[in-house]
Symmetry: C2
Subunit: 339 residues, 2 copies
């Protein structure tokens, strides 16, 4: 077993059940997808990852460094229905993590966001319906669909009022997954992620989360900017998010439903910045919110993930401080592979 895999979290989720499971991970060279691929490969699953390697997205070949022999990698775009039909094949499980995630990009180029987050999702579901109806599908959605919270914490009954094209399209994407369960009986389920962070996240820019920009700055020895500072957020460490995705895959009672995923607690951006500086050194400055960001800012957000915890037994195992410590250590070692 490679050094990287030996560092995987201790077993849970009936880990033995993953042995030889035929798994497809879309967006599998990205941040969460690759972390999931590494975990499942370590448990003996037959893992196929698909990724488009679009430079603005999360795909990075280095994310599978050290376990290339245990994971099959296929470069392809989920917008291409022919390759996807072949790749879905007879996979037992599809972790559908491919997506356009940048809020600003969705406003500057709404059609690309639509093609990836709507059309390609519908295409994947049609492929499963026609050619592999027994496959289990776990779809990664986002808290972005709720928009500005009308109350806190935000539970799954909160109205959906997205503040950008990305949020609108992600609603359609997850709705297709639930509809295909209700109408055709596809075994699909939806997890709404909040800010996920950890090793292998995109730090080149803020396309995945602002935390990426902060991390890069502290590793490079520069101060970073905190916009506002008092906004409240919740964060999920990537290994905890992977736990949650695996629990969803293993529980058919969750089919046709959408669940929030939260994290270890609620913190302000200022507290988050202070925690980062505590584990990494460096410094930050509080700045006013830039105008272009302001109009799609959502104020405070934190989710209620009680429903998911109750049905799955999931709890976060990595605190924000510990998660940031691990993340900083990863990028101190591998910064050059992420710029």
């Amino acid at each position: 077993m490679s050094d990287a895999l030996s560092k995987a979290p201790q077993p849970r989720h009936h880990d033995a059940l993953w042995q030889n499971r035929r798994v497809l991970i879309t967006g599998g060279l990205g941040f969460i997808g690759s972390t999931l691929a590494r975990r499942l490969a370590g448990l003996g699953a037959d893992v196929l990852v698909v990724d488009s390697m679009v430079p603005e997205y999360g795909g990075n070949l280095f994310n599978l460094d050290g376990c290339e022999g245990q994971v099959r990698t296929n470069i392809s775009d989920i917008r291409d229905p022919y390759s996807m039909r072949h790749l879905v094949g007879d996979r037992e499980l599809v972790f559908n993590l491919a997506g356009q995630t940048s809020h600003l990009d969705s406003m500057h180029d709404p059609f690309t966001d639509l093609a990836i987050n709507c059309t390609a999702q519908l295409s994947l579901l049609e492929i499963c319906r026609k050619h592999n109806p027994a496959a289990k599908i776990v779809f990664a959605s986002t808290r972005q669909i709720y928009g500005r919270p009308q109350y806190l914490p935000v539970d799954e009954r909160h109205p959906l009022n997205p503040v950008d094209v990305n949020g609108i399209n992600k609603i359609a994407g997850e709705s297709y997954h639930m509809l295909y369960n209700q109408v055709y009986g596809l075994r699909s389920t939806v997890l709404r992620l909040t800010n996920t962070y950890g090793p292998r996240m995109r730090i080149k820019d803020a396309r995945q989360t602002f935390l990426g920009v902060w991390l890069r700055a502290v590793i490079e020895g520069r101060p970073f900017e905190v916009w506002g500072g008092e906004q409240l957020r919740d964060f999920t460490y990537v290994d905890d998010a992977v736990d949650a995705l695996m629990l969803m895959a293993g529980n058919d009672a969750l089919d046709g439903k959408a669940f929030n995923l939260g994290g270890d607690g609620i913190v302000s951006l200022r507290e988050t910045a202070e925690t980062l500086v505590k584990v990494s050194g460096g410094s930050f400055a509080i700045r006013e919110f830039p105008a272009e960001r302001k109009r799609i800012d959502i104020g405070d957000y934190y989710g209620d993930d009680g429903a998911f915890r109750a049905v799955s037994g999931w709890t976060p195992r990595v605190s924000l401080e510990e998660g940031l410590r691990r993340t900083v250590a990863f990028y101190r070692q591998h910064l050059d592979r992420y710029l």
Copy 2:
């Protein structure tokens, strides 16, 4: 003035304001679009209608019979951004009524529904944002977005749980319209229609509403089938729906908001059938719901349109009985143009 136009309803909505207004109506050869075009032309507006004439949709050249000289007609598809850019031009008002409306078609061919109800809507909004940001846009949405009612009457705060791909895509379509108001200040507003009926509706099949099939049967002297019979519905006569669209266009306080439109009252399908038979003769039989329809049936539905009535002063002026009488009279005269 043609015979057809002289039958238009009596003036209201500051009708004089429509003189020379530059209006674009997408789906303008369809049922509601053509009725609106006839009304506005009669008030002296400069009306341009765009319609794709896709055979499965509502477009019918005969719908503008008698007022061809007063309305400009351009055959084009809203999926074609080049022609749309030209046609949007410097129109002051866009009634955006083009859409794929069939629930079953959206399940059999979800990509076409997506292209028309999502991609083309986004394209139209991008065109307006870039080239005609002062245009007012009135978008026709549908009660189908609510899915199976969780309570009755359904108001605008009711959760959106569509039971078909069409409903999911219409949510995205109307959400784009509201987002472009919030983010870019476009003057767009959304009206959620329920069952609309009247002269010029599609009666060839059930793609617009089941009422079309009933009407055709009674005109052709055949009994018609009522599936179920006890389901409750509300209906809007087309002239009342046109009133509502015109009121929306004239009231900037409604921008960025979505409103339900209802009708004259709540009736069961059986009562509706009895009213139709009363005004037209003929007969019907109650049948069990077909299986393919059952899985996308929503049970009882009727809307609460109190919010729209309060802000606009709208009330329906044509009862179901009177509306069906006018509709039957129209098709007795023009049946051959609608088969």
